[in-house]
């Protein structure tokens, strides 16, 4: 089996385990889930994980797969690194956003750019799971199966609706870490990210976030 075939095979066996909607039922204890998620969010200092990103272009009925590694530290630091199909690095370190790809590096002041502020807020709220508190912008629905909690967020603000028609988040039942997210856009394009090899509260040095 070639690399592409193996990747498709991995996705086929891994993704339905998380995303199979048929065995989902309404969550029994939503308040308990929220409490435990709050606690996990407060206790987690670092997260590191591999990820597989799947961009589905509805017009072509085809998926674009990217892979990489991501690191989060709770003092407002994120490293999001693509290794395939080519290397592309994004680092958020407090008020600075750094991007780098083959010979091209840029540093942006997040506070000077509203789009980057939104992006930073969005990424952080996903990673910690505290997007669920934002009921001003989203209406949540809660489900579960044997291995995952699943929250379906429907945007209510017009501003968000222009970009997204739905957000799905899967939480691992063992440690409440985010196992996968799916962002659905108008026109049925979507971006799905599955997080694998997740490690919580390991030591992550500042070097990962320097540029």
């Amino acid at each position: 089996m070639n690399n592409a075939g193996f990747l498709i095979y991995l996705i086929m066996i891994a993704v339905p385990a998380i995303c199979n909607a048929q065995d989902l039922s309404p969550m029994k204890d939503v308040a308990g889930f929220r409490d435990r998620l709050e606690k996990m969010s407060a206790d987690v200092t670092t997260i590191s994980s591999d990820f597989i990103q799947e961009k589905n272009l509805a017009v072509f009925s085809e998926k674009i797969i990217s892979k990489g590694h991501f690191v989060y530290r709770n003092d407002n630091k994120i490293r999001w690194e693509y290794t395939s199909p080519y290397r592309y690095l994004i680092i958020i370190n407090n008020d600075q956003l750094y991007t780098s790809t083959e010979g091209n590096s840029k540093v942006y002041d997040i506070q000077a750019n509203r789009m980057f502020q939104e992006m930073n807020k969005f990424m952080s709220s996903f990673i910690r799971g505290d997007i669920l508190r934002n009921e001003k912008d989203y209406t949540p629905q809660f489900f579960e199966n044997t291995s995952h909690y699943y929250v379906k967020l429907t945007p209510v603000s017009t501003r968000v609706q222009q970009m997204l028609t739905g957000i799905d988040i899967w939480f691992d039942k063992n440690d409440f870490s985010v196992a996968g997210i799916r962002l659905t856009e108008p026109g049925d394009d979507y971006t799905k990210i599955d997080f694998t090899n997740r490690k919580l509260n390991t030591e992550i040095t500042g070097e990962k976030f320097t540029f």
């Binding site: 990103q53 961009k55 272009l57 017009v59 072509f60 085809e62 674009i64 990217s66 999001w80 693509y82 199909p85 080519y86 592309y88 994004i90 790809t101 091209n104 840029k106 962002l183 856009e185 026109g187 394009d189 971006t191």
Partner: protein, 208 residues
């Protein structure tokens, strides 16, 4: 008088910008298969490129997916590495285009028009509506002289591969575009688009 002087100067300037370096042409009788010479005409699968856009001092990168969409059109989608769609445009064989989606920042008439023009020349460099003459240079290489509503342009064909190597369009002042294709197989490994009067360079590298 001032207007007349300005017009004459403009004409001289414009004339000097036209590709007069191609005066060593002579008519060729060699047959040429345009379907084989183009890079996208026979392609029914999708093609993905890593894209780098240098506009002035700004650089943007992302992934472009290009696919034959109907008998007469290609669909082109450009997105960031994180999967945020920037634009979705359909390019027609006759040189026209239709925008299906664009982020707000890009959605300006001149920007979309330029984008449509560049992609149109890149995907459909020859013509289905205008005139096309096959010429031969002194060194034996084949050059096509094309004229249609997109303007006048010259297409340089590699004699060994029979593939389009370079396209120089001499459309209106700000639409002077040079497109270089590099590749050995059926898909171009690299495409470089540059504009004579704009600091806008686009490089596409094939993703395998």
């Amino acid at each position: 008088v001032r207007n007349l002087l300005f017009s004459i100067c403009s004409l001289v300037l414009l004339q000097s910008c036209s590709p007069s370096l191609f005066n060593d042409f002579r008519r060729s009788n060699s047959p040429l298969d345009l379907h084989d010479a183009g890079w996208f005409g026979n392609n029914d699968g999708s093609t993905r490129f890593r894209v780098s856009v240098n506009a002035g001092k700004k650089n943007t990168t992302g992934i472009m997916v290009l696919k034959l969409f109907s008998d007469d059109s290609h669909r082109v989608v450009f997105m960031t590495e994180m999967g945020i769609k920037i634009f979705d445009i359909e390019i027609y064989r006759n040189g026209s285009h239709k925008l299906h989606y664009s982020v707000e920042e890009l959605n300006r008439r001149t920007m979309i028009s330029m984008l449509g023009n560049d992609l149109s020349l890149m995907i459909y460099p020859f013509t289905s509506t205008g005139s096309l003459k096959i010429m031969e240079r002194k060194d034996g290489s084949t050059v096509l002289r094309i004229k249609d509503k997109r303007g006048r342009r010259y297409a340089f064909i590699d004699n060994h591969s029979g593939k389009l190597q370079e396209l120089i369009s001499s459309g209106t002042l700000f639409r002077k575009v040079r497109i270089k294709y590099t590749g050995k197989g059926s898909k171009p490994e690299k495409i470089e688009i540059s504009h004579n009067f704009l600091k806008l360079d686009i490089t596409l590298t094939l993703l395998k």
